[in-house]
Symmetry: C2
């Protein structure tokens, strides 16, 4: 039986060999955290490489994702079939599963994509929240596991990391354990260049259970993990480590982080570590000891499956449907009823409160929905019918995230990656920039997170330009894999929510006005007209269409008024409502051409935002009525007039273009 | 002489009257911090409303910007002429200087735009850094002032706020004082909903000097300010306050934050506070006491002017030139020499290291330059010739910001708003999203911050898609007031730096490749060809131009190769290099048409990024060669092949479009 230190050295040598071969990589983490990882994977982690996606497995996040070879080495050694030696050898090559940073692939043991620092531990917090919520719903027999995250100094300097420390301590998530690689080195050199505080103490202030220990002492890590798993608070294992331990030339040095490794370094490490084996060669006894560690979880998994199979059929059906991300029965009927009722309503609700109403109506069909909100409960309204998820009540589905938008988004990603819950993250659109790094990761991972935004334009009014998005719609539409929806009224809002709940292949951004949205639709049926992204809301009358007006959200009403004026003067004009550009772009050319109208006709778009991106519908000579820069402080109506986003301006622009071409 | 508490109540009543009149506003801050502000402005703040932009004034940041009426009341009361009672009465109306949130106007006493939480205190940190740097350069006689920031719970929950706490403590900026409105209420209600930690203790851990006190006791605030001004550390005054104090119905309650106020509330407050005066009426004695406080600083300002006037002429010239944001003599010649030398170079440097070389060459001409970098010193190279700015050495011009991009950007904004320094903020383009909230504020404020980015595309290579920008160029180009420059080689890089140094009306984003950029230009003269944003790099030969290829940055070389292939097969093809879309868009129609070529010709753009936004040059039927989604992990060359961003692909696209139209 190889010594535990030999198991750790197996990680080291795999990492060194792969990084030498790739000519680049980050040896600091795998070499510095080899003992920590060995203690976790051989003695504590609840996992089964034969069934990587077992729902009740412990979750592991490599928040310091640049140290990806640590994870790949562990996956290979413990027996994940998809990560074999050929994959390890192709580390960082195009097509390898061993990518530069871990890219989400739970079927291979990679829970989440990490790399941009700080977000990984925020993902881990989201996973721990999801676990606690599901534990409260389904009980210990079905859901009770721990979330571990490897974390470096960089993650803890990032604001999102600090937000995570604060909220995790507040929520007292006991089954959340961070393994901190306290090596006192970042890319620039000593951490003393940029931080002086006692990081462990900072965690204690936030209510964490902290254990300081030698990260190269496997038994100490083992004991600390045992202690941490018993503590009612989240735990930080502050593991004092030597960066790049095993490479004498670099260990404990700045270059340990990611200086290039050469074959001579690998040879020197073999000498230093007493590892006589050839590159990528793993002695059978060592591999077998690791594989045995990988088999530890099989009986637990089998017992779990027995318990699951013994569930009452309806409970099991709920559990599995929710794991699959599906809404419960009746949700489409609920949305249809909402649409129909919207047509006859005398009150006209604010855009964001339409979304709140729809969510409240869907509550019974969406027991897996968890709503996070960044301290804007009252103005966004998405808490209706929900209790707070807090340190005492894990069955609450509403997380008061505090004024921490980036954390909120990254937590939502973690919840979605965990599975079994459907996360919404709610804030104002002006603050989407704070959340954007997490939105990008949701898009990259294709996680079904619902990002919900209110206060979507100068319609915000008197709070002024800081709170008025003008460029943010464009910046979200530029993001691959992100569906951006901006409904025009309650009917479209229900249709967009239907699309959002159908869409499992990536995130959506649901963008709502602060101001009231009167109905622009005069019919609502099972047919979801928003599903193709854009549609003819009002066709030209009295002849061949001469003008096509394109609009989204609150400006669809502006376009309809402009159309009335143009029609009154004999110009056949159509209004296209375009709640989702991405969906429209995905339609066939025939549909797109039919909606956009004749290419020799006049097209004018109206949106209370910048023009950037609209040219793909307008061509070089189309017209646009919207914002030319940032907003201003004043009442919403006055701002629409001031910035000339009015039916008159739209009609005038159309007439100008008609005259140009006559 | 009115009692100090009466002076504080003058703030309260002005705020209440203005908020009632505006029908919205945030009374929590002005009512809760009235005594704190009174102590600061009547006994400590070094300012002179008769000369609002006196360079050596203390700086005040209202980080909790929603409480804007606190600031407007102070400006009116102390005698800033531009903020008269008419302005106060028009609070939140379109055109008022009393906007919903403070919008930068130093000439009116508003140092910086605030509103998105957390950034204000990060701006304050930047101001304190600038002050310490200038103090070290010019001495106590010319620069020695204090930066104060009002701050609420929200700012301290935000990640950027936490980053600020950590770095400010590390840098031991003694002349930085935060006034914390510890009212234990946020928009959602009790802070207990989302935070449990002892915030004061969190500051102590980070090395701050902390005083806990009653925020409604003016003498206590006064004493604490006196103590804080003596301490060698940054100071937090943790002021226990009652939110909305003075409105019995709301004080200490959730609604105190921003629930609507009615005339009855104002009447009740008049009773409670013993304030018999009519709305917006300020008794003469109270106003005179405030105005006297506003005159306190005049002798100090006069003494400062005397010292400045006594400076040696060359020192004074340097000081004033740097305050004006102008580079020193010889900078254009330095850039020209760099351009010329670039043509004959045998080595081909990486894109970002070209920028590093240019900055090093400009060092003598830019003594006011301060470079912040988020833990990427080695790969970005912008420390050459600079020492670190740290707790011991304030003359260093390089700030190791740690892995804190958002803070870095917001600090740079604070430095630029302070004046006298020229801030650069350096990181990878993939991390621009972390910094983006600060970039938006720089754009909104039109601050001349230089945001410098490296690793600008899939050229990043093996680190994979998390580190490869694809949508980020588009998202920056969508931002009003932001110049985005992506030079193709060393000549264009020098030209773009010339533009950046000329540009004082807003921020620039300088975007550089990680990979080597061989020269695409074969001439360099005083004529800055990049200045018009785009230009004909290589004109079509052998006849009327049939194809126009548009490219930026590293893809200009790809376009040139494609042109060679097209020309070889007899297709007259031009290459347009477009280092700055915004500048090109600002040219007259004739120039733009001449560059873009005949509207019936074929246009193809090539950029290793998404197409979004390119249609404004391509029209609906132009061609684009670039990214369709996120990148991948692999060597850069392999990725360019994999994603088909090659001369062959560009030429093929041009031929396809030519054939279509034939």
């Amino acid at each position: 039986m190889p010594a535990p230190s030999t198991l750790a050295n197996a990680i080291r040598m795999l990492a060194i060999d792969a990084i030498v071969r790739a000519t680049e990589g980050h040896q600091g983490v795998p070499l510095g955290m080899a003992e920590i990882a060995t203690a976790l994977y051989t003695r504590h982690l609840r996992f089964d490489p034969a069934d990587p996606t077992w729902p009740d497995r412990d979750r592991v996040v490599l928040s310091n994702g640049h140290g990806s070879m640590l994870l790949y080495a562990l996956l290979y050694l413990t027996g994940y079939a998809a990560i074999d030696l050929a994959q390890i050898r192709s580390f960082r090559e195009l097509g390898s599963r061993c990518e530069g940073h871990p890219e989400i692939a739970p079927q291979h043991g990679i829970e989440v994509t990490t790399g941009p620092l700080g977000q990984g531990i925020a993902n881990a917090l989201g996973m721990a929240v999801a676990e606690a919520f599901l534990n409260a719903r389904f009980g210990d027999g079905l859901v009770r596991h721990t979330t571990y995250a490897f974390v470096g100094d960089g993650c803890l300097q990032e604001g999102v990391g600090q937000e995570m420390i604060s909220l995790a301590g507040h929520l007292r998530l006991s089954r959340l354990i961070l393994l901190w690689d306290d090596n006192r080195i970042t890319d620039d050199g000593s951490t003393e260049l940029s931080i002086s505080e006692d990081v462990a103490e900072r965690f204690r202030v936030a209510g964490w259970h902290v254990i300081e220990l030698d990260g190269h002492d496997i038994d100490a890590v083992d004991a600390a993990l045992r202690e941490a798993r018993q503590d009612p608070r989240p735990s930080l294992l502050a593991c004092r480590t030597v960066i790049a331990k095993g490479i004498a030339r670099l260990q404990g040095q700045r270059g340990g982080h990611s200086a290039r490794l050469y074959p001579e370094d690998a040879a020197a490490a073999r000498d230093l570590l007493g590892w006589p084996h050839a590159p990528f060669e793993m002695p059978e006894a060592v591999l077998e000891a690791w594989r045995a560690a990988g088999r530890r979880g099989a009986p637990e998994r089998a017992a779990w499956k027995t318990r699951r199979d013994a569930l009452a059929p309806d409970v099991r059906a709920d559990f599995e449907r929710e794991l699959a991300g599906e809404p419960g029965p009746g949700w489409r009927e609920t949305l249809l009823a909402y649409k129909r009722a919207a047509l006859g309503r005398s009150d006209v609700p604010a855009g964001i409160l339409i979304s709140a109403e729809i969510n409240a109506a869907l509550a019974a069909a969406l027991p897996q929905r968890m709503v996070g909100c960044a301290d804007l409960e009252a103005p966004t309204g998405h808490k209706r019918g929900l209790r707070a998820f807090d340190a005492r009540d894990r069955s609450g589905a509403y997380v008061h995230c505090g004024v921490r938008e980036h954390l909120m988004g990254a937590m939502a990603n973690g919840m979605a990656a965990h599975g079994g819950v459907m996360p919404l993250a709610v804030t104002y659109l002006a603050f989407a920039d704070y959340e954007r790094p997490a939105m990008r990761m949701a898009a990259l991972m294709r996680l079904p997170v619902k990002f919900v935004f209110s206060h979507d334009s100068i319609g915000v009014g008197k709070n002024g330009p800081t709170h008025q998005p003008v460029e943010i719609l464009a910046s979200l539409r530029a993001m691959p894999n992100m569906l951006v929806m901006r409904p025009a009224d309650a009917v479209e809002a229900a249709e967009c929510w239907e699309i959002a709940l159908e869409h499992r292949e990536g995130p959506v951004s649901m963008v709502f006005a602060r101001q009231a949205l009167p109905c622009v639709r005069d019919e609502a049926s099972q047919d979801n007209r928003s599903r193709r992204g854009a549609y003819v809301l009002a066709e030209a009358q009295g002849g061949h269409r001469e003008v096509t007006l394109l609009a989204t959200g609150s400006e669809v009403a502006v376009a309809l008024h402009a159309r009335a004026s143009l029609q009154a003067s004999g110009v056949p004009t159509a209004v296209i409502s375009m709640p989702c550009c991405e969906r429209f772009d995905a339609q066939d050319a025939g549909y797109r051409a039919a909606v956009l109208g004749p290419s020799d006709g006049v097209r004018v778009a109206v949106e209370a935002a910048v023009r950037f991106g609209w040219e793909r519908y307008l061509g070089v000579c189309g017209g646009f009525v919207g914002m030319r820069g940032f907003g201003a402080s004043g009442p919403a109506d006055a701002l629409y007039m001031h910035f000339d986003i009015t039916p008159q301006a739209v009609a005038a622009e159309a007439r100008r273009l008609l005259a140009e071409r006559a």
